[in-house]
């Protein structure tokens, strides 16, 4: 795949958004994280490599804003036993490539590789894979229209994934 050449300025802005988003998940702070998405924004973690769509095959996650809003509340709900434990994460994002760019609107599709460790319930779990972000210009800034998370072991037996990766 040929990546699109972008100005250093645009690339810096895109990188900054990906890093900011990751930093909200590192804490995790879902209130701030959700604000980075458009109203029709989605978060998708397929259950198989190259999964074509989230509706006709099972996924590990497929949240629109409504489910994100429920999850945000549930994450801090005092009665959620699975959330009794500290959750901390650390994301490293690299190999950022702009795969498609609309010169007029600035809307773009960006892929990146990530390594993420999640500490939860006395256990540290590594996750790795590729992000695909669809970013759109809203009021002179970028918002996330969709984030797709392809884990390299998405079709393996996995434990609880307690937080968005």
């Amino acid at each position: 795949m040929t990546t699109v050449v972008t100005s250093q300025e645009s690339l810096r802005e895109i990188e900054a958004l990906l890093y900011l988003e990751a930093s909200h998940l590192d804490k995790p702070n879902l209130d701030r994280w959700i604000e980075l998405f458009t109203e029709d924004g989605t978060y998708w973690m397929p259950a198989i490599p190259e999964q074509e769509d989230p509706h006709n095959h099972i996924s590990l996650f497929y949240d629109d804003r409504i489910i994100m809003e429920v999850r945000r509340r549930n994450f801090v709900h005092p009665a959620a036993a699975s959330k009794d434990y500290t959750v901390r994460a650390s994301h490293i994002i690299s190999n950022i490539q702009v795969q498609a760019l609309d010169d007029v609107s600035g809307n773009c599709t960006v892929t990146s590789n990530f390594h993420c460790y999640v500490f939860y319930h006395d256990k540290q779990t590594p996750y790795a894979g590729t992000y695909t972000h669809e970013l759109v210009r809203v009021d002179d800034t970028y918002k996330i229209k969709s984030k797709r998370v392809d884990l390299i072991n998405c079709d393996a037996t996995l434990g609880t994934i307690i937080i968005y990766i």
Binding site: N56, F61, Y62, I67, N74, H77, A79, T157, G159, I162
Partner: protein, 434 residues
Amino acid sequence: MSYSEEDIAALVQPTKVHRNVYTDPEVFDLEMDRIWKNSWIYIGHDSQVAEPGDYMTLNYGKYPVVMVRDNDSKVHVLHNRCGHKGAKVVDRPCGKNPAFRCCYHGWRYRLDGKLLGVPHLPGYEDTGFDKNDPQYSMQKLARYDSVRGFVFASMNPDAPDLRTWMGGAADVMDNLCDRAPEGEVEAAGGVLRYEHDCNWKMFIENLNDTMHPMIVHRSVVESAMDYIKTLPEDSPRRDEAEIIPPFGASYENFEESGITGFAHGHHYDGGKTSIHADYTLDPEYEAAMLKAYGKERMLDILSFNTHNTLYYPSLTIKSAVQNIRVVRPIAYNKTIIETWSFRLKGAPDSMLRRTLLYSRLINSNGSMVGPDDLTAYIRMQEGLKSQANDWVEMHRNFGRDEDLGDRVVGKGTSDLDMRTQYGAWREYMTGSVA
């Protein structure tokens, strides 16, 4: 310790079970030997091996097996072990081949497991080796059979016939398939495999434990309701808003749903009603059902509303949702739970999408329901290390369940499901099973 027959029998009392059934690796090994080898274990659905040569691999208890369709379209369940040095012959989760061939010395097998060829055979002449001796084939499991496409196998040659073994619990499997306008279902939309750090029985004992949802799932129900309140009244209907809130149903609601238990440990919750009873009926689906069955029969099928049905020990199904969960024990404190979804043949695509939505929303590793259940199991696995009390109690409604001969019925909040399972556990473990 080593268990005598008396020790094993004493682990289960009418209203309590000893903690060792969850925490002792030796009990686990005995269970794999006595329950899993003597019961019927769910293998897969025959739609997963739709054409000759299609296979899927899995573990039956501790043992590697493969389900395969042969050239006569018959489905077999074979030990996945080369007759030569014992290598697993096939190791992909699923695939297709005209015959099996071992990766090591190239021994080849027919799709029904019979040894076809051994390279450089003359070396075996006059050695006593007989190519036709079944021990050199990929051996068939002692028994395999299917009900409405759901394939089970048993290592016990004397196991009762599959439908007899299911007893009245077979009604739910029939209902699942009858919900298809064409009367058949097929596996669709893939699988989720979720590692549970707990004993396998904790998972199946939770299925029809109706005293836990309002506690364990209160957070997701309240979070959903809290958010729904902020939405405008004329917001479009969402399946999620029908799926999540019933997990917070009252004790009285669950009590009314009733539990029905059968021989061999099977049971279901619901019948007249369940937490799935109030789902909106898709008009296109209703039309297809009406055309296929007529009104009376359609209403008959759709009003049989169960929650979870357990075919002890390995399979649990949701007929009203069309998904199943399969129990694959690994160790006394480790179990893999698989979630599979099914398409109702002849139904609109929206029905499969709802099933997949349910599987993702409730059963996925990333869901807001399953992880809370799992947390409770993990805490039991930890807490039962305590020697404060050797027993786990199951008294609720003891003595008030009603024995109807071929089944026992009780209130939906009864521990009847626990007592049904442990009745079967004791029978399998002590060899007194009918």
